[in-house]
Symmetry: C2
């Protein structure tokens, strides 16, 4: 146990514990992704262990590339005891498909750019197949 059950943190501490910046935490709150925390006498946001766990959940989901909308749905499913794992899996599978599409697009670009780089001798002379390609559009 790193955290006791009754620990109350400021936004800065919650940020360090969760990996989400304080700015981002306020932003998540503003868009309704996470609930509004209670406030201290000095109007500071006060986070408990549970809130920090939620933040960590969000942080991990974001780091896996899930869009905010997906994170919202994942959070709902997480908190829904009656969820069907199928719904979670479907969401993740859709994200996987998106990742694949992005990777394919990037690899296609990578291939084309790599060919151009290879074709260019890269010396002091002005002749350059890269510029010729961009200008005329020859795709080998």
């Amino acid at each position: 146990m790193t955290l006791a059950d009754d620990v109350i943190m400021t936004i800065g501490e919650a940020a360090r514990e969760s990996g989400v910046t304080a700015k981002a935490i306020r932003y998540y709150e503003s868009i309704g992704l996470i609930p509004k925390p209670v406030r201290t006498g000095g109007n500071y946001r006060a986070y408990d262990r549970r809130a920090v766990e939620t933040l960590r959940f969000v942080h991990r989901a974001r780091s896996l590339g899930f869009a905010m909308e997906d994170v919202q749905r994942l959070l709902s499913l997480w908190q829904d005891r009656g969820r069907k794992s199928k719904d979670v899996r479907t969401l993740a599978q859709a994200h996987l498909d998106e990742l694949d599409a992005k990777i394919l697009a990037l690899e296609s670009m990578r291939h084309a750019v790599a060919q151009l780089v290879e074709a260019c001798h890269g010396d002091h002379r002005p002749d350059c197949p890269i510029l010729l390609d961009l200008a005329k559009g020859r795709r080998a």
Copy 2:
């Protein structure tokens, strides 16, 4: 020759010829990526063959994933007769490295998400390794 030397086009025609939308052409002009075209009596932008070639150049560069800043530099190099092909190649190589980095990052995500999807049986039951992972942070 598809285009005669003295053809003058409206923004819509230039858009169709170049692959860049009219909206994007105006944007490129607003940020100084392309020069301001002359205007007709009715205040319409008038593009000649050269301008459309430039737009096509931009379009191809963008489609290869070059950032606007890079496109700007590529345009300059293109128009510089005294350029060194080395400079062009260096730019393209840097972009290639960026593409590789992005692909690696996405593939790392893809790997993690794929594992989660595989681990989840995806039926009517609520138990779901995906949510467990996001919550507890176990990365296999």
